[in-house]
């Protein structure tokens, strides 16, 4: 009796492990499939012309340059607003804030910002930046909207990086007569920099791939020229992919896959850079 019981236990374990492994395989294989499929289908579309020419024939031919440049501008614009604000907020939380109800409220606000649906950010950007502040449908409005959406990612990552710097670094600096700000700027920030940059890139990566927040704040359906001021609307890769895969009839399939590939290279390239910075910093770290 006892013997059968123990056999059953291990039989269950073996069945259980197989099941869990199967679940993991069923999770991982589609992921590989998604990336492999887009790369395989999109690669033939990539050419010098595709990357550097204006769209022609109602976007059915030519290149996607304005969308690439537009996404680049939007990412830069987002960084311009969200990076200083996000890092300063992280410095406040990691170096200045006491554990009281107000700090808890800030943390709850950050968690909530991270969870607000992207299309609601779009509505907010439309209400505040486009209509109330009269920035119009522009790169400026879209960048501001995206930067608020990116803020929680940057704050959380930067705060974590700042907190990882050992307390003794601060103690030594203050004991040598450094003020609080001097300590932060000369000692803590440089040490936390790789972690902060990683967080910033991961936040911007999200902004670069988003469509819903820019739908009504800055994205143009079709604009065969490059934007020349922050008050211009712009094409953007994610919105362009949405447009050509749902709104334009008789769109050559190759251009669609090519656009998807350029978008994921843009986004995953940023991810790769972040990963490299993180692992190199970890290898060099002295504490």
């Amino acid at each position: 009796m006892k013997r059968r019981f123990s056999i059953d236990r291990f039989l269950i374990q073996r069945l259980g492990f197989s099941l869990i492994t199967l679940v993991a395989v069923l999770t991982v294989v589609p992921i590989l499939g998604v990336f492999g499929y887009i790369i395989a289908k999109g690669a033939p579309a990539i050419s010098w012309e595709f990357l550097t020419a204006m769209p022609r024939d109602g976007m059915r031919a030519g290149g996607i340059l304005p969308a690439i440049v537009g996404t680049f501008y939007l990412t830069l614009g987002t960084a311009f607003f969200s990076v200083p604000l996000g890092i300063a907020a992280a410095i406040y939380l990691a170096e200045y804030a006491q554990e009281n109800w107000l700090t808890r409220l800030i943390r709850i606000a950050i968690i909530n910002l991270a969870g607000i649906p992207s299309v609601v950010y779009g509505l907010f950007g439309l209400g505040l930046f486009v209509l109330f502040l009269k920035f119009g449908t522009s790169i400026l409005s879209a960048s501001l909207t995206l930067s608020i959406m990116t803020l929680p990612v940057i704050i959380s990552a930067a705060e974590e990086a700042l907190r990882a710097v050992p307390q003794s670094f601060r103690t030594v600096s203050v004991s040598l007569g450094g003020t609080r700000w001097q300590t932060i700027r000369k000692i803590v920030l440089p040490q936390a920099l790789p972690g902060i940059i990683t967080g910033v890139i991961l936040g911007l990566e999200r902004a670069a791939g988003e469509t819903a927040p820019i739908l009504f704040t800055g994205a143009a359906f079709f604009l065969p020229r490059l934007p020349n001021s922050p008050f211009d609307a712009t094409m953007a890769l994610p919105y362009h992919l949405f447009v050509i895969s749902t709104q334009v009839p008789e769109m050559p399939i190759q251009i669609q896959y090519g656009t998807a590939l350029v978008l994921i290279i843009f986004v995953l390239g940023m991810n790769l850079i972040a990963t490299i910075i993180r692992s190199r910093a970890r290898a060099k770290r002295q504490w």
Binding site: V23, I31, P117, V120, P152, T211, F242, S245, I264, L268
Partner: protein, 298 residues
């Protein structure tokens, strides 16, 4: 101390402090603008009409129930995928896979989390929905099911990443204790490790689900966008339309200040309040369990 230095400290502290409060300011601002543009809808459309079952804005039918049920059925479907696959993969990575495999697979799963949702929607249109149409013999593959499958794919990376962290944080002594008492590894996982990591795993699920409720582009592209009431179980095989997709699809074409415009903002307000509720619940689970741990340790 140098006086100018002292001044500088004061100013910098003030600036940093202001930035620190910015997150609160933005949440309030977002709430304010949604109220400002969304609440007039309540004056312009009767509440009974708003809670009706017909969404047909051109003829002034603004019943949001079909959109609510659309969001609900797609989210429930995504949960049914995210729970087993998210937790299963987290358990596999944390407890079963060798270390090198975990180091490769976890970033890979997180990479999917970074994939723009519009790309998933794109593949949904070109690959998944034609497959579903043929495989299940449906009139169209653009259904709630396609949305649920892809949203599951969006929820899984978040769930796996956070749940794996939570499982990994369970002290080694718990495992050793259970194994020493003669439990199998499988029993240890189910009866010791998962219960110990319960609050973290729950948070992972809530945040994963939180992402699916707010997802816009994917569902707009693959669910077919038909605003029909989805209350039957078979509704999963028919087209639906979610709240997010309605806002995204229609906001570009309405006149600012019209009733339709205000109703779309009202839907945004509903979404905002749902995400607020989900996130505050998720974070209070974390806070509570932390307090419990502190109590145990003191």
């Amino acid at each position: 101390m140098d006086k100018s230095l002292n001044w500088r400290e004061t100013i910098i502290t003030a600036v940093v402090k202001t930035c620190g409060y910015s997150a609160i300011v933005f949440v309030i601002l977002i709430f304010f603008f949604l109220l400002r543009e969304g609440v007039p809808a309540l004056a312009e459309v009767k509440l009974s009409d708003l809670l009706a079952t017909r969404w047909y804005p051109i003829e002034n039918h603004f019943g949001i129930l079909p959109l609510l049920t659309g969001s609900l059925i797609v989210t429930l479907g995504a949960m049914l995928i995210a729970i087993p696959f998210g937790i299963g993969t987290a358990v596999f990575l944390s407890e079963i896979a060798p270390r090198w495999m975990r180091e490769i697979l976890k970033p890979l799963v997180e990479l999917l989390g970074g994939l723009p949702s519009v790309v998933l929607g794109f593949l949904g249109i070109l690959v998944l929905s034609p497959f579903l149409r043929v495989f299940l013999d449906l009139p169209t593959g653009l259904t709630a099911l396609a949305g649920a499958l892809l949203l599951g794919g969006i929820a899984v990376p978040t769930t796996v990443s956070i749940a794996e962290d939570a499982l990994d944080a369970v002290p080694k002594s718990y495992r050793e204790g259970a194994l020493a008492l003669g439990a199998t590894k499988w029993q240890t996982i189910w009866r010791v490790i998962l219960p110990a990591a319960r609050s973290g795993v729950l948070t992972a699920l809530m945040l994963g689900i939180g992402r699916t409720i707010g997802e816009t582009m994917t569902v707009m592209m693959v669910t077919g966008n038909a605003p029909v009431l989805a209350v039957k179980l078979t509704s999963i095989f028919s087209p639906v339309r979610t709240m997010t997709a309605t806002i995204a699809a229609e906001m570009g074409e309405v006149a600012n200040g019209s009733t339709h415009y205000h109703v779309l903002f009202f839907i945004g307000l509903v979404l905002f309040l749902i995400s607020l509720a989900v996130n505050i619940t998720a974070s209070s689970v974390v806070f509570k369990s932390k307090k419990r741990a502190e109590r145990v340790l003191s």
